[in-house]
Symmetry: C2
Subunit: 275 residues, 2 copies
């Protein structure tokens, strides 16, 4: 693993690291914020999964999470959203291929060779960061924005016991019934396995064994694609422990994400430190 | 004036606006964060001047100021760092021309036609925003990063009574004695008037009639160009009310800026609300 950069931030260190990924068959880059407390021993971890077109960097510089993570003594991991590189398949559309991995293991050509973001995030990257940094892998939580909210919710529900809590900012909530989902699931998976990557269907079928927090802006320009009402209905119908909040006037931007980041960090800290 | 965008953020609005500038002879763009309190009446204003290569946008999305401004009920203005456009002179170097206005009124060709950032920030933009938005122009403060720290300090000292307080993150502190300064002051001003744009010389000569806060990272990669020791010496020698802080381990990045933004907002709020 190679250190791309390390910047002192909020008493800790914001690092960027690159490594050869077995799951993705290419080099992958991620950001990691370690609070000051990591000098003295392992600290809890919050995963932040990003949305369409993002790299590891966008949330790292725009979501305003490090200050609150420092206050809570929690590390942040900012993975990339897809495999990347010259040998990696891509598409001209912003919402397919590089920058748009959708957190699945692709089975279809030309994607199957590299697009294995599920394995990368469920197995490879946790093992890598858990071995290399002072992280308490018994205390993990996960969040994400848009496509990353979809990833956070699906990983949390399909890996019971892994995460103490899950939250999402404007997640793609019902991709099997949306143009943000049907196109990509079809391309990556063909006709099979879609239901394993739909937060609403997973909520209906199994739910999450811990608290859930979802924030959604009422003026989000992508409401028709996100379908938050399907997830809200599924959460309530299941009696899922958690909160779904419609935030009046907010849109889909990082200004929305950063506005509520403090509350998401507090939410996860409570669950992480109760473990 | 044209609205480029408006995003709800921290209970208020982060806007971006464009207007024809008389001072600069071109269209200029700026960011303005208005906290919720601005609905009920004028709120105090903190100006944030940015560094080399930045537009109005960098600090707006990376400095993490809006949350703290919202908490304090203070508006933020994010001006651009130079005139811009096809008809505006430029240079291949990152530190001259567009993106590098240095907050002066140029007197030399080819810069004199548009590069009048001093007049733009001392007169035109305050009048514009004061007339168009719910801002209490009797309560202004100013801050900035790097070249913007230079701009904040020089504007504050040369406009006594205008600002309640001034702060700076890693300012270009002594440009008449630095390669970040001699090149640009020579290009824009020729041989005259340099001393009016050097924070250290102004501190020696007149100081500031209010509190000053300066933060500088000890691992800043540009320490030789910034010359913080000259400003620290001048502040102490003058018995200037204020604080100069050397922050161990921090570099020149926005991670440094955002790490101390809360304290700068608190510092300015105390001075603004005492007016």
């Amino acid at each position: 693993m190679e250190t791309v950069s390390e910047n002192r931030a909020f008493g800790g260190v914001q690092g960027v690291y690159r490594h050869g990924s077995e799951a993705c068959g290419c080099d992958m880059t991620f950001g990691l914020f370690l609070p000051e407390e990591a000098r003295d021993g392992p600290v809890p971890v919050l995963w932040y999964l990003s949305g369409l077109t993002c790299t590891h960097e966008n949330a790292m510089v725009k979501a305003g999470a490090q200050g609150w993570a420092a206050e809570q003594g929690i590390a942040l991991v900012f993975p990339d959203t897809s495999p990347r590189g010259e040998g990696v398949a891509d598409d001209e559309a912003y919402d397919l291929g590089q920058g748009a991995g959708f957190y699945v293991n692709a089975t279809q050509a030309p994607w199957a060779a590299h697009f294995r973001m599920w394995d990368y995030l469920a197995e490879e990257l946790p093992a890598l960061v858990g071995g290399a940094f002072a992280l308490d892998m018994e205390r993990q939580a996960i969040t994400g924005h848009s496509m990353g909210g979809h990833g956070a919710l699906t990983l949390a529900m399909r890996l019971p016991g892994r995460f103490a809590s899950v939250s999402a900012f404007a997640p793609i909530a019902h991709p099997t019934q949306s143009d943000w989902g049907r196109k990509q699931l079809g391309a990556y998976l063909g006709d099979d396995g879609w239901e394993a990557h739909d937060a609403t269907l997973l909520m209906q079928e199994r739910g999450f064994d811990g608290p859930v927090l979802v924030d959604q802006g009422s003026e989000d320009q992508f409401l028709d694609l996100l379908k938050p009402e399907a997830l809200a209905e599924a959460m309530a119908a299941r009696r899922q422990e958690g909160v779904f909040r419609m935030q009046k006037g907010y849109d889909h931007s990082y200004f929305f994400v950063s506005s509520f980041m403090e509350e998401h960090l507090s939410f996860h800290a409570e669950a992480l430190y109760a473990r």
